[in-house]
Subunit: 108 residues, 2 copies
DNA sequence: ACCTCATATGAACACTTGTTCATATAAATA
DNA sequence: TATTTATATGAACAAGTGTTCATATGAGGT
């Protein structure tokens, strides 16, 4: 801790394995596409079905569906059925914090 | 705020422009490569010159130098000269917080 | 001033990624 | 059960990315 140049820690950052660091990179890779970022951001306010998301972003249903699959596989979104449509919502609010930190870095 | 599904905010997440969201994606894109993540992580402990980083990661000097250029252009690392070598250090400790949040998400 | 050597750069390559278009799938409702 | 329709999927393509190899650059030390 004493030789830690960047100050206090919440989770200790020493001794993180290369595998964990690779997983970390994979997580950030999901946030590295603006379509996915816009999808996530739009889900902060309301849960939505696929077509609503597509309409909100002004993109094709297929493109959105492909991206939703990636978000699903990473357990970042959850789904539930409502009649004929499938409604997407964020899996947890961890992403919110990560986005906040990122935005703070950008707008400084 | 009342209709915010994910709870309290530090920085308000409503009304973020598409341009800001694109910038956010670009920031995460930098963290989406495991080499860059490993470089950043190794700089948490000590500042290092290019060859030291390459040796630490077991990679070629050229590969590291290419990645350091990306980190430099994003103002994530700073350089100073020490004799013949150029020493890299993190520009600020914002990255540390972002990494922590990411690691917490992974290890939960 | 001239080497030396650490770092930076450019071209080439294989690999990955996001979108579109066309179509398959499957649950709902008549 | 048949039909409808929202969503998912696969192939194809263009664009982007990270590494290697070879070489340029330029500041340091003599």
């Amino acid at each position: 801790m004493a030789d830690n140049k960047v100050g206090k820690t919440v989770k200790e950052m020493d001794y993180v394995s290369d595998e964990e660091l690779a997983d970390l990179a994979d997580l950030f890779k999901i946030f590295s596409d603006s379509t996915r970022v816009r999808i996530i951001h739009s889900l902060f306010k309301n849960e939505m079905n696929v077509q609503e998301i597509a309409d909100t972003l002004g993109m094709q249903q297929s493109a959105i569906s492909h991206q939703l699959r990636i978000l699903r596989q990473s357990n970042l979104v959850k789904t539930k059925r409502n009649g004929k449509t499938i409604i997407y919502k964020l899996a947890d609010d961890h992403v919110y914090t990560i986005f906040e930190q990122g935005l703070e870095h950008i707008t400084e």
